[in-house]
């Protein structure tokens, strides 16, 4: 684990959200990669080199839950934070099922995200 400069990946189909998360996290010294779709993430991202994944639940092609389930299916234990506008109990329940570290409601309060990423990385099994 690269504790000095953790690499974080954000997957969200919304440019505004993606760019703002990148901007915020880079200020705190995270190395950030962003992807607009699950497909580009799986084709371009090297899973070995990232420390934490932030993924949007509601995307045109797939959901954050499905993407996480696919990750688990190929044996990845990557810490995942799911972001969603509507974190209903069903989503939280399913998130637990696929080992998501935390479901975060959009928009998120001041500086919750950087703190949560560090916690998630520290808790990685």
């Amino acid at each position: 684990m690269k504790s000095a400069n953790p690499t974080v990946v954000i997957i969200d189909d919304d440019n505004g959200v993606r760019n703002s998360v990148r901007f915020l996290l880079e200020l705190d010294g995270f190395a950030v990669e962003d992807f607009g779709s699950a497909a580009s993430f799986f084709s371009k991202c090297d899973l070995e080199n990232i420390d934490c994944l932030i993924v949007d639940q509601s995307m045109p092609e797939t959901t954050g839950l499905t993407l996480t389930a696919q990750l688990r299916a190929i044996g990845s234990k990557l810490p995942v934070i799911l972001i969603t506008a509507l974190p209903d109990p069903e989503i939280i329940e399913q998130a637990r099922g696929v080992g998501i570290y935390k479901v975060l409601r959009k928009p998120f309060p001041d500086n919750v995200l950087p703190k949560l990423i560090l916690e998630a990385i520290a808790a990685k099994p």
Partner: protein, 379 residues
């Protein structure tokens, strides 16, 4: 010894009596003056009177007011003019039971001659169940309409939550970033800060566009304008918005010869439902609970006003009454009046408020007449 003709006559009487007794529908014979001659067992079941309580009495005892008072006049009118209003035709009327309750029935009347005197034969078919079924159907349709409208609102709320959350999330992130830059005083801090602020501003504008698009969607979506009877729309809306159980006094005044209006009926109903529900909420717990609904024509428009006897509108409420997402209700979304105004403006009308001189608020709106060149149609 009976003559052959008498025998036939007796057989006829026996058959007639068997038929009348066995009939499921009520069968009644009255004479020219209205006195009941024949009253079969089905009539006894329908009206609750035994035959001996009715036979020989005027048939009007089986009618509710105002028919009761008018029936002698009907008979006299027929005898003098021979103008048939129900004879040979039949129609839906109300019957009055012994206990004073009424029931809807289909009455067909035939005219005949018995022993050289004019008689009327009435056949009475109880349509209580049929009418109840029809009413239930209407209620269900209205309910469906209401539910579909609510679910459209629910869908819109979900869509808003999702769409608006994206720029809001971005803005919150840029603001966090800006704060962090200031606190830590980074090198190049000024440039980064400027960037964060500029990007946050862009996202705020984007949120504004989403709302604009949404409002356009509400007023344009499936809008289909037809010539409609505003009276009928009002009556339906009142029935939906103010269930009878609520003890509210509703006065409805219609201008005579009200012309048809060119509107999307569902949308105007939505506006009326909103205004009526608001008015009903406003008068809750007030000493005088009354709604007055007025309709008048003005230029090429029809104006509808709904006046309540509630507390009226406070100036601070009035100032942003038609703003979206501004609400005085605990569970309100603050969409009601803003959507109402959108709908009315999309119809080329206006929606505004005035203070009720007697206390309370008046909401008024106008919608265009269906055809302004022709004479006002009495719809």
């Amino acid at each position: 010894m009976a003559s052959p003709r008498d025998r036939v006559g007796n057989e006829g009487t026996v058959r007639f009596e068997a038929l009348v007794t066995a009939a499921v529908d009520g069968i009644m014979v009255i004479d020219a003056g209205g006195a009941v001659q024949v009253y079969n067992p089905a009539c006894e079941r329908l009206f609750g009177y035994a035959a001996d309580e009715v036979i020989g009495h005027n048939v009007k005892m089986l009618m509710p007011a105002p028919y009761q008072e008018e029936h002698d006049g009907y008979l006299a009118h027929y005898h003098s003019t021979r103008e048939k209003k129900i004879i040979g035709i039949g129609r839906e009327v109300l019957g009055r039971r012994k206990d004073g309750s009424t029931f809807p029935m289909y009455l067909s009347v035939g005219e005949g001659v018995l022993n050289g005197r004019s008689i009327f034969v009435g056949i009475i078919h109880d349509i209580t169940t049929q009418q109840a079924a029809e009413r239930r159907m209407r209620e269900l349709q209205a309910e469906l309409l209401h539910v579909s409208r609510l679910s459209a609102m629910g869908q819109m709320a979900a869509m808003l939550a999702h769409e608006l959350n994206q720029p809001l999330t971005a803005i919150a992130n840029y603001m966090s970033a800006g704060q962090k830059i200031i606190e830590k005083g980074y090198e190049a801090g000024k440039e980064r800060l400027r960037e964060a602020l500029s990007r946050a501003g862009d996202q705020a504008l984007r949120a504004g566009l989403i709302i604009q698009r949404m409002r356009g969607f509400v007023s344009r979506n499936e809008s289909e304008k037809n010539a409609e009877d505003i009276k009928a729309i009002l009556h339906e809306s009142i029935a939906l918005a103010l269930p009878e159980a609520r003890n509210i006094h509703v006065d409805v005044h219609f201008q005579k010869k009200l012309p048809a209006v060119l509107v999307d009926k569902i949308q105007i109903q939505q506006v009326l439902l909103n205004l009526l529900r608001n008015a009903a909420e406003a008068i809750e717990g007030q000493p005088r609970q009354a709604l007055t609904i007025d309709t008048t024509t003005k230029a090429n428009m029809v104006q509808i006003s709904i006046a309540d006897t509630g507390p009226g509108l406070a100036p601070e409420v009035l100032a942003q009454l038609f703003q979206p997402f501004v609400t005085t209700k605990r569970n309100g979304m603050g969409m009601g009046l803003s959507v109402c105004r959108q709908i009315i403006e999309a119809h080329g009308g206006q929606l505004w408020t005035e203070a009720n001189p007697g206390g309370g608020a008046i909401f008024l709106f106008t919608v265009p007449q269906a055809s302004v060149d022709e004479d006002a149609a009495d719809v």
